[in-house]
Symmetry: C3
Subunit: 289 residues, 3 copies
């Protein structure tokens, strides 16, 4: 099959376009993790690399468009061979604050929840953000986002045959960031409806945040999960705390962590916590390029 005639033509016409840009981005971490009672060894090495290739351009009329793939890899435990993951491709087009993205996108409710503790994360946030350990945000392969000043609206869907969909509204005023969202996800052998509330507030060197999740399974069963976090920054040092609770299993998790910013994208970070009675901890460095 030859390439399409006019698509090729379009290529030739625009080959000299000055606006087009393909760049590399990257972040990485490495360190040691600890998990009490872990069968394959309580203490183990971990690293993670997240490179990306990002293409973007803008037409003379102001339409922005682009595409990106992820080149990610991570090592757990002592596994020396590390396979490439999915490229997670995304293609987007944007104009006047309205953006349409098709690909392996995050659902509209993906931003809701709290941050984790540690250099890579010890799972303090996961307990409350999931129902019995299963995420209820669902999948998406198309998302529409509209941004107007400090407010934004997003709606996502899992393409055609999938039933997952999500909507979210987010905004900020006077230092307060808020978000409210709703999604349906085909998980746990049924359809789960999830309502999300998310708040964060920064005053001086302190940032606090909280979320609330009401999950409602189609076959019966409800849960009111929640979590909160606080971070205090003094110069290059940030100390943070997080707590989350899963109503469906009466499980909770809490942890405390610290990060020291060495500059130029390098930080030393670590955390220790308790996930439903199991002690977990990590310590390592994070890098952004």
């Amino acid at each position: 099959m030859k390439k399409i005639l006019f698509a090729t033509t379009a290529l030739v016409v625009t080959a000299g376009a000055a606006a087009a840009d393909i760049t590399l981005s990257g972040s990485a971490n490495m360190g040691v993790k600890y998990q009490e009672g872990r069968a394959a060894g309580e203490t183990f090495l971990y690293n993670e690399l997240d490179f990306g290739i990002n293409a973007s351009s803008t037409t003379d009329s102001g339409i922005e468009f682009g595409a990106s793939i992820d080149l990610d890899a991570s090592m757990t435990d002592d596994t020396a061979t590390q396979d490439p993951g999915s490229f997670d491709p995304e293609v987007y087009i944007s104009s006047g604050g309205l953006t349409l993205t098709v690909g392996t996108v995050d659902p509209a409710t993906d931003p809701f929840g709290i941050g984790d503790i540690g250099f890579d994360g010890i799972g303090i946030d996961d307990v409350g953000e999931k129902i019995g350990g299963t995420g209820v945000k669902g999948n998406a392969n198309v998302i529409v986002e509209y941004t107007m000043g400090d407010y934004s609206f997003a709606a996502s869907a899992d393409g055609n045959s999938g039933d997952d969909w999500a909507i979210a509204f987010m905004g900020s005023f006077s230092g307060l960031d808020f978000g409210i969202g709703y999604n349906e996800a085909a998980v746990l052998g049924t359809t789960v409806d999830a309502t999300w509330l998310d708040l964060s507030y920064g005053f001086g060197d302190v940032t606090v945040g909280a979320f609330y999740l009401h999950a409602d399974a189609a076959g019966g069963g409800e849960a009111d999960n929640y979590g909160f976090e606080a971070a205090y920054t003094a110069g290059d040092l940030t100390v943070n705390f997080a707590y989350s609770y899963d109503d469906s299993t009466d499980a909770d998790a809490y942890g405390v962590g610290a990060s020291y910013n060495l500059g130029s994208g390098l930080a030393v970070a670590g955390g220790v916590g308790d996930v439903d009675g199991t002690t977990v901890a990590d310590f390592g460095v994070t890098m952004s390029f």
Copy 2:
């Protein structure tokens, strides 16, 4: 195994070579496709990303050489997880119009045929370019090309144990592009000999093209396939039409499409057609970076 001694030496010597260049290239599309009677849903989302890493250099004596890999991904239907494809690596060396390429190359007869209709393609060209839906161009892992002015010759082979091979001669004069080629391919449970003729002619805003394929199976059975296309460009708008016919199954396909060039590499395109009685259509955007 240590690296080879003098290869490493060569590396050191040439580390400061100003001619070497490694660049990223990319194109992408996204849109909606329609196929009448499709079991998994008639209408479905599609996107495709084709990134490439291309290295090239030139010696002081004028020998060009390089290597490239593809980083491609695509989404069909509502499948959110998209796996990386093959890297399709190629290594080439070129001097005085003669180029040798080793890798996952296209066979010498690959350029023959017509263009497709739509933002990504609805398969109008495939019907006539294949025999009963199976391509007969074969595979190749080495190709030699020689270019002299407006004329070029190419010969490809499927390495050692493979029997596939192809030759092609192409040229252009007074606005007429022509190509003639021959290949053998081990497909359809036998060896198929394929003879290709390809013509295209541009006059003013109109381009027309046609191909003819004579396929001859070793175990008996011949087919005389053909197809033609026409495109008309008015400013940023291009309208095109394509038709192809498969003699082996008495199937044909035709379609009409349009593309509007938004500039900077962005175009909106779509098409609708009939592939052997089935209505197919697509609509979306194409991007080149």
Copy 3:
């Protein structure tokens, strides 16, 4: 799971860091290989591409850090489809000559041995560097290296549950490079202790090198392997010779090769040899970008 709060903060703070750098590197080769009596054909095509994405940065206080992945592909015989390999991710941090790397790293004894013969290598070095065809250097996912002037020390381990580990000391004075190392590797159904000696010396246009390997299997069985190599450079031409011996199987291999540097990273190279009675040869080009 949202990204970690302070890691994200650190990212924002350092987004403008001028020191961060993400680059592409690459090398490639292509050619023909010969192996006497090979079932799938004695002569076959080969190519190999080794691209890399390398991110690095330096803090104001002089701490260097970075991460890298490999994008490699190769073709053997007539196989047109070439799958991507592992990304082999590595993350490192370095300060004052001390470097810690976590990922798919080579063990500390990896540098020991001799170079191979040919454009890609015909396996002359492998015979003596392995025990009955099996490598005894083991695996590693963490390595610490310390460099002080012309001397360096390295220690590697296979993470947590793996038993493989290695140490090495290397240095150079008056044109003589030497190395001594020791490693344990879980191979050949037992634990093998390997002691390595490595020497190379350059005088004028001639470089000579040799290695000695004493391997000691836990269940009994010892071997004293060795090998040596010599290279002579006259302008752009380098001729080399290599020999290695495997005491465990009384096998040896020897070969002679040549490389001609065409400049700008391009070289023509080839070699012929005998691996335990089997004639092997290769001829092709090598490229570095």
